[in-house]
């Protein structure tokens, strides 16, 4: 069996100094060669691992014949954001995990092929997507993140009149404010959003549903169904001493300043960000990886990643961990901060940590980290980023009467993703999703449910 074709990427010490994309993408020859590794299984297990049910062998087959145009068609049947998925999905935990080749060797590089196909389309297909004939039925989508874009896109393809309401000044949600340029160039996102506009979707920015206009206003305006993909909100803090010293940021603030507000280009852009020399990021997820690599690119001499469990237990995508290490990020697993120490002007200057060890497995099946007594030590830091997770955004949910929530503040939904309010559906972080692709899967499922609901 030929070996999997490795994704070509820029050298680590070149790429960690700028915000340009890390991966170059397959060449035509590489895509051809990699696609030929696919066995075109009759019962493709890979598809079972895909939250948006992409017909994976169907899009890979034309690639074997060097026919990306056909591949695009197969891909777009199921996903509205292929260039995004190809870049940010944790394929090793999804489609590629189930690939039969993976049982004995290396799975087909499905994500890389998806990205190749989507990028080929962006470069070579010049004709605009044509909006289908409108059926005149209005559907409101709240939030333009991956859940909302997917749900809206699927409904627009069927002729529904979709309006997406976004509280921020630009589209994409976490794809814009969270995921950095070097992992998902915003030109790629912009192109995907343009496609959705071509499908007839209208976008309203600066509109916070619950405050600017309410769900009742939407019903009065003639919307027949609503999808809420209002996303993650309130960042988690640790509640330890010194946490509100200056230059201690939540990962969301740090990434929003750099990604959405373009703080790296201050003062050309107005939003400031302090470019720390000695940066510590706390956490082990994708957001933590994005934060360490962003800090490095802002010019930090030292960037450490502090995580209370082991490196293997970090939930981040495998590729991000590898890239981060290649780029010179120092991993400090089994380490937990106990307090932050400030200078005379209340800027953070260091943090006191303890060493951890693995205890008995907890509910999540992972070993519970236990503090090692008297293992305290200090790490110097002029910037600290807390990437500890997020709680669901409370604004929409608290201001919409009759919406039932679970104990975490997420919208309670039934098996069709409908909330306690008839006609109001929810997906993504606000309904328990936690990754981009899960949000997209839920957006897709909600679109189907909305169609059923409206046809009842």
């Amino acid at each position: 069996m030929p070996q999997r074709i490795i994704m070509p990427q820029r050298p680590a010490d070149e790429r960690n100094k700028d915000f340009l994309e890390v991966n170059d993408g397959y060449t035509r020859e590489q895509a051809l060669e990699e696609s030929k590794r696919c066995l075109s299984c009759k019962k493709p297990m890979c598809v079972t691992g895909c939250p948006v049910e992409i017909d994976i062998p169907d899009f890979i087959k034309p690639l074997k014949e060097d026919n990306p145009a056909e591949a695009v068609k197969a891909l777009k049947r199921k996903t509205n954001l292929p260039a995004v998925c190809g870049r940010v999905c944790p394929q090793e935990k999804q489609c590629e995990k189930y690939c039969i080749l993976g049982k004995k060797g290396e799975s087909v590089a499905i994500g890389n092929l998806e990205r190749y196909t989507a990028d080929w389309a962006a470069k070579n297909l010049k004709e605009k997507t044509i909006a289908p004939k409108s059926n005149g039925i209005k559907v409101a989508v709240i939030g333009s993140g991956p859940a909302g874009l997917t749900c809206g896109g699927d409904l627009a393809k069927l002729g529904y009149q979709v309006t997406i309401f976004e509280s921020l000044h630009s589209s994409g949600g976490v794809l814009r404010y969270g995921i950095p340029e070097f992992r998902l160039p915003k030109a790629v996102l912009d192109a995907e959003v343009e496609n959705l506009k071509d499908l007839g979707i209208k976008f309203f920015f600066n509109t916070l549903i619950g405050r600017t206009i309410t769900v009742d206003d939407l019903w009065k305006d003639g919307y027949k169904a609503i999808f809420a993909g209002t996303g993650a909100g309130l960042p988690t803090f640790m509640g330890i001493e010194g946490e509100n010293l200056k230059n201690i940021y939540s990962a969301n603030e740090f990434l929003v300043r750099v990604n959405m507000m373009k703080g790296a280009k201050f003062p050309e852009y107005d939003t400031p960000i302090y470019k720390g020399k000695n940066v510590v990021v706390i956490g082990g997820g994708n957001t933590a990886m994005d934060s360490v690599r962003t800090a490095k690119r802002l010019g930090a001499a030292s960037v450490k990643l502090v995580y209370r469990r082991t490196e293997e237990e970090m939930p981040a995508r495998l590729e991000e961990k590898i890239h981060a290490k290649e780029e010179g990020i120092e991993f400090c697993p089994l380490t937990n901060p106990v307090k932050f120490i400030g200078d005379d002007n209340k800027f953070v200057k260091s943090m006191e940590c303890v060493k951890m060890k693995q205890g008995e497995p907890d509910k999540s099946g992972r070993c519970r980290p236990i503090e090692i007594e008297n293992s305290n030590f200090t790490i110097d830091a002029d910037t600290v980023v807390l990437a500890l997770g997020l709680n669901p955004n409370p604004i929409f949910t608290s201001l919409t009467k009759g919406l039932l929530l679970d104990e975490h503040g997420r919208i309670k939904v039934d098996e069709n993703l409908m909330s306690s309010l008839p006609g109001v559906f929810a997906g993504g972080d606000i309904a328990g999703g936690s990754t981009v692709i899960q949000a997209m899967g839920m957006g897709k499922q909600a679109a189907k449910s909305i169609v059923n609901y409206l046809n009842k």
């Binding site: 509280s167 921020l168 000044h169 404010y177 920015f205 600066n206 509109t207 916070l208 405050r211 600017t212 206009i213 309410t214 996303g231 993650a232 909100g233 309130l234 960042p235 803090f237 509640g239 946490e243 509100n244 010293l245 200056k246 230059n247 940021y249 939540s250 969301n252 603030e253 929003v256 300043r257 507000m261 373009k262 201050f266 003062p267 050309e268 852009y269 107005d270 939003t271 400031p272 302090y274 002007n345 209340k346 955004n393 409370p394 604004i395």
Partner: protein, 280 residues
């Protein structure tokens, strides 16, 4: 794009705009704020709503030319546009029939009290407004505030108008003469802190409208976190008004200075360049 319908210079460094934003005008309540972004290069800046005209769909903002963004904003004219304008944000003022309410304001905070006075008056309260300014020239909207309030007392630091002294001196005087049920403070943080210290001692409940640094203003980034009663709260979601006796004022003052150096760089670059280059 949000059109500036009228512009007024209230003092040499304070400007008032009425902007067209019908949805915000329709739903705004006293004490809420907006976030503006002047153009594609701009930062997101929160400002308390200073008034609404529901009929005409207009929202009023009044701002001091403090940093780059507000200075650039002040240079826009009637008929021009602000790129982004989001609101109304935050929890509205807790309006109840308290009895006698003292509204204490200073600096540009004074410009934002009229909606709060109106709401509290409408709920049947006696509203005593205590307004402080460094000097007479900086006193804002005196006639409007006098008209809206049951009583207005002005204090200037230099004695050029009204009582010479600080708003806290006046407030102490009022509290010693009559029963005040609640105090509402809005203005510079040291002023709000001083008011809180005084009313805590006197046992008068006090609300303060906080103005921490914000980015998204929709409960996502955590920049606006403040410590209230030992707990982390987010001004954009839980606030902007909090129990003034429980706010960690020193932390708020410190955190407001996070980007002081960079804010100076930005303002100087703007002033030296007179930069309209990236807008056009």
């Amino acid at each position: 794009m949000y059109k500036i319908v009228s512009k007024q210079q209230l003092a040499s460094n304070i400007t008032s705009f009425w902007l067209s934003a019908p949805d915000i005008a329709k739903n705004a309540k006293a004490g809420q704020f907006i976030i503006f972004r002047i153009d594609d290069y701009g930062e997101r800046v929160p400002l308390t709503i200073a008034g609404v005209d529901k009929g005409k769909g207009l929202v009023r903002i009044i701002f001091q030319h403090a940093g780059k963004s507000t200075t650039a904003l002040s240079l826009l004219n009637e008929g021009e546009f602000v790129k982004d304008f989001l609101g109304p944000l935050g929890q509205p003022t807790e309006v109840e029939k308290y009895g006698t309410v003292c509204i204490v304001s200073g600096g540009v905070g004074t410009a934002e009290i009229i909606p709060v006075i109106d709401a509290l008056k409408e709920a049947g309260n006696k509203v005593i407004s205590i307004v402080g300014a460094r000097t007479k020239e900086l006193l804002l909207l005196e006639d409007d505030i006098r008209k809206a309030s049951t009583e207005l007392i002005v204090a200037t630091d230099d004695g050029s108008y009204g009582i010479k002294g600080f708003v806290t001196n006046v407030l102490q005087d009022v509290i010693s003469k009559e029963k005040v049920d609640i105090v509402y403070a809005i203005g510079p943080v040291p002023m709000m802190k001083a008011v809180a210290n005084l009313t805590k001692e006197k046992g008068v409940r006090t609300l303060a409208s906080l103005n921490p640094i914000m980015v998204d203003g929709t409960g996502m980034c955590g920049a606006c976190r403040v410590t209230v009663d030992g707990k982390t709260k987010f001004a954009c979601v839980d606030g902007p008004e909090f129990d003034a006796h429980k706010v960690n004022w020193d932390e708020l003052i410190s955190r407001l200075g996070t980007f002081k150096d960079l804010e100076k760089v930005s303002l100087e670059k703007f002033q030296n360049g007179g930069c309209k280059c990236h807008r056009g």
